[in-house]
């Protein structure tokens, strides 16, 4: 297999899968955003935080690996987006910096900032993390304001190959309603997943009842935002490129056509959405394992959407400032040697997933109880 396009598509699949797993694992963030909503007593809040506290590292690691894998496989995206949409990425990073210490520090003696401060940090991370990541990913479909000019390397006075055309450096993405709707959808999905996770993993009837009551509201708002976004997305004009010349052009109904031209991706999307809906319904009916249905659905749905962004000759990071600067998996990837080498390394992923499953099951085999929370602290 010496065709670079195979490896580009394979790595776009892995990036999409990591992105999908990240959205699923952000149930941790969803849970943090509900600390005060679901936890009416201090003991309940501690149970909520103990439940997400055992998992936050996985979400964090998935985010870091997502960044590393993007860097390795599509370095031009890393270079263009991170260096250009500076403020969006810095805000996202800051959200995760404060999260990283909050679980460990919040209840420790000598905590000079106070427990409430760390819980506010967790709340901020819980709301802004998914909202900003969702909004940033929205630009994969609506475009961003950048210019790429590789010839600049030969200009010693200004050798930087890409620059951002907006002085807002990425914050302008939040002014695009379609991006914001995706951001809200991601946030609400993480909150739905969190309600389902708590209901299945915490042995406290009052708390479970709080989760069940909260679920219809969160699910309703999620469906409102997501379905609106989805319909607009299907009807939108997308960014395509010609496989031979690499020329980027606007293509009406591009994402709808992508789904029709890639039936397997369409199937992923439909199954994913059905599983999410099934999970929500199961949760409302009190099914303890509804989290897994909705979680699997979330992974499949996000995977399908991200595959639509990059596969089928689609520009996954369109430039609305300079159309031909748009990034595609063909013009932004690493070379074939690096992609091949990384593909060999990726064979270890099933092994990694195996030990994650073992650890997850070991820690979650018995639900968290109030007694356990008292012993932890």
């Amino acid at each position: 297999m010496n065709d670079i396009s195979f490896y580009q598509e394979y790595w776009w699949f892995l990036i999409s899968l990591l992105g999908a797993l990240l959205v699923f694992l952000m149930f941790v963030q969803g849970g943090q955003s509900l600390i005060w909503t679901l936890g009416r007593t201090e003991e309940q809040r501690r149970m909520l935080l103990l439940a997400t506290g055992r998992k936050w590292e996985l979400t964090f690691t998935t985010l870091v690996t997502f960044g590393g894998a993007f860097f390795a496989s599509f370095p031009l995206f890393y270079s263009t987006s991170f260096g250009g949409a500076y403020w969006v990425w810095v805000l996202i990073l800051l959200c995760f910096v404060v999260q990283a210490v909050s679980y460990e520090f919040q209840l420790k003696r000598g905590n000079v900032l106070g427990t409430t401060t760390y819980r506010i940090f967790l709340l901020l991370n819980g709301i802004l993390g998914p909202l900003l990541i969702g909004t940033a990913v929205g630009t994969f479909f609506t475009g961003a304001e950048f210019v790429v000019n590789k010839a600049a390397v030969a200009n010693p006075a200004m050798p930087v190959i890409s620059y951002w055309a907006s002085s807002w450096h990425g914050l302008e993405a939040a002014l695009v309603p379609q991006n914001l709707m995706l951001g809200m959808s991601v946030l609400l999905l993480t909150r739905v997943l969190a309600c389902l996770y708590f209901a299945g993993n915490i042995a406290d009837e009052a708390l479970r009842e709080n989760c069940r009551r909260r679920l219809p509201l969160e699910s309703g708002f999620f469906l409102l935002f997501f379905l609106t976004w989805l319909v607009r997305w299907l009807l939108s004009t997308g960014f395509a490129y010609m496989p031979d010349s690499g020329l980027v052009y606007l293509s009406p109904y591009k994402y709808l056509n992508n789904l029709l031209e890639m039936p397997s991706v369409l199937t992923l999307l439909l199954v994913g959405v059905l599983l999410v809906l099934g999970g929500m319904a199961g949760g409302m009916l009190g099914k303890r394992r509804a989290f897994w249905s909705a979680g699997a659905g979330a992974v499949l749905t996000v995977l399908a959407l991200l595959l639509c962004a990059g596969w089928n000759h689609t520009a996954y990071y369109p430039s609305v400032t300079s159309l031909q600067s748009s990034l595609t998996i063909a013009n932004s990837s690493s070379g074939i040697f690096t992609l091949k080498t990384m593909s060999v390394v990726s064979l270890i992923i099933p092994f990694v997933l195996t030990y994650i499953v073992w650890a997850w099951r070991a820690l979650d085999k018995a639900p968290i109880t109030p007694q356990e929370v008292r012993e932890e602290h």
Binding site: E57, A157, P159, I161, V352
Partner: protein, 513 residues
């Protein structure tokens, strides 16, 4: 198009240095303390003594407090390659990204999965599974160090790649050369063993604090015994790998060696400066061979031996490196900085022609010129040979701090092992050991200052200077984020120290639990 603002380069560097230095306050303790606590848990599983479990759990508690800060500061570092060094990310992303991705897949997941079992799994998995989780946590952390140090070593000595003028970037052609470069192996060993030293100093320091206060005697003595053996072995390994690292620097980064030694005019039979005071305000970038030291103590021939394994070997000084004309180990004659800059500009101009012309003959000629002059490509971005000289005083003094403290740690661990239980009677020794704790961090930070400041102005040695590696941002944005990070990290550091202090004051769990 406006040229790059030099203050943008300075602030981008400052921000990266700030983040890296904060990050490096926590990582070495994770690596060092992690091994100590894993050894203690191993003793618990082997002997069945609850004492070792309590001991391991105490150090684990401190490990956790520190680990969180390492994670918090680490995520910024990874993404700063994109946010602040975007041109770098494209120019060498094909090579540099791979170790970061492998770090995530191989190391971070291992670390983050098993640390949860380590903290929350005491009553949920078997004793042996828990011990395995503890070891896998620290193995994950060490593997993570491996890959990030592979990436760093590649920046110090780029290998295994070729420049592709069509994509305008360097592309990897030999993964093994990148992943197992001798510079990377030595750097990893030196960095990890020095982190073990820091972890061991921390453990003996905290334990001596208990002895000073007359608390937790058995706990303290047992911890000192384990940590002192571990620390002594690690210190000796650090010294050895430091020597190997010096040899690498002499071969691949002679300007860094010259700066670290304060060597302006080189020659044969060079002595190693054991200690000295540089003349304030001396110009290290030009001038005559006047004495640039107010005071120095030298070990004759030692620098020549270190650099060339020959007592009479030739070691170039800063002036020689700028002026060229001396004989290189391969027999060729060193070029002057001016000549290298000239060839670099020829390479860059050839790239411009290659990119712009449609004429096949012109394209082929441009490609030939580019390939002939590519070894000096990065020099073409420099405006003056003076830019090639790193800040000498900072490099010189940092090097001496690192080496002297490294020697002191060997004496410290050996002394503690010789004293054994008698250390309980020697209050001044206990106090000295407690006061040594911050010195371990000083040595560790000084080591990185030598490594990173000493290689300026290069982001990638000889290939890409900082000025061509940055993101095109307004300086104000970078200044703002610099101060945001400074305030946030400092606040969190204060919080961490306070929590750590309380946890130490509380001590290990009482025996009844």
């Amino acid at each position: 198009m406006e040229p790059i603002d030099s203050s943008l380069v300075d602030w981008s560097r400052a921000q990266f240095a700030l983040t890296a230095m904060y990050h490096w306050l926590f990582v070495p303790l994770t690596l060092g303390l992690g091994v100590v606590m894993a050894i203690m848990e191993t003793l618990y599983v082997r002997t069945g003594r609850e004492f070792w479990k309590r001991t391991a759990r105490f150090w684990m508690k401190l490990f956790g407090i520190n680990f969180a800060m390492g994670v918090a500061t680490g995520i910024i570092l990874e993404f700063e390659f994109g946010t602040n060094w975007s041109n770098y990310s494209w120019f060498v992303g094909d090579i540099f990204g791979a170790p970061l991705a492998i770090e995530g897949i191989l190391a971070f997941f291992m670390e983050s999965t098993f640390i949860a079992v380590m903290y929350f799994g005491w009553n949920k998995v078997s004793k042996r599974a828990h011990l395995a989780s503890t070891w896998l946590t620290i193995i994950g952390a060490t593997l993570s160090a491996w890959w990030i140090l592979v990436a760093n070593a590649w920046m110090q000595h780029p290998v295994g790649m070729e420049f592709n003028p069509d994509t305008v970037r360097n592309e990897m052609v030999d993964f093994a050369a990148v992943a197992f470069s001798p510079v990377a192996v030595v750097k990893f060993c030196h960095t990890v063993t020095s982190s073990w030293v820091l972890g061991a100093v921390f453990v003996v320091g905290v334990s001596c604090w208990y002895l000073l206060r007359g608390q937790h005697r058995e706990f303290a003595l047992s911890s000192i015994r384990v940590a002192a053996w571990f620390g002594l072995a690690a210190s000796l390994l650090t010294a050895h790998t430091g020597h190997l690292s010096g040899r690498d620097i002499a071969l691949y980064q002679p300007m860094k060696l010259a700066a670290a030694e304060g060597l302006y005019a080189g020659g044969t039979e060079q002595g190693l400066v054991l200690g000295g005071i540089l003349r304030p305000g001396a110009d290290w970038t030009a001038g005559t061979d006047d004495e640039r030291f107010l005071l120095k103590v030298e070990l004759p021939y030692a620098l020549s031996y270190l650099a060339t394994h020959d007592l009479h070997g030739y070691v170039p000084g800063i002036r020689n490196l700028l002026e060229g004309g001396y004989k290189l180990p391969d027999g060729s004659v060193a070029l002057s900085a001016e000549e290298m800059m000239k060839r670099g500009r020829v390479a860059i101009d050839a790239l411009a022609v290659y990119r712009s012309t449609e004429n096949p003959e012109e394209k082929a000629a441009a490609l030939t010129t580019l390939r002939q002059n590519f070894p000096w490509f990065g020099y073409g971005y420099l405006k003056s040979p003076r830019e090639l000289v790193p800040p000498v005083p900072l490099t010189f003094y940092s090097f001496r701090i690192m080496v002297m403290l490294g020697g002191y740690f060997i004496v410290l661990f050996a002394g503690l092992l010789l004293l054994g239980q008698r250390v309980t009677r020697w209050k001044p020794v206990q106090l000295a050991v407690v006061l040594t704790i911050p010195l371990a961090w000083l040595a560790s930070q000084a080591g990185w200052v030598v490594a990173e400041v000493g290689r300026q102005p290069w982001s990638i040695q000889g290939l890409l200077p900082n000025v061509a590696a940055i993101s095109r941002l307004d300086t104000g944005s970078v200044q703002t984020t610099f101060f945001i990070f400074l305030v946030l990290f400092t606040l969190l550091l204060v919080a961490e120290l306070s929590i750590m202090g309380k946890a130490i004051a509380t001590g290990p769990e009482p025996e009844s639990t």
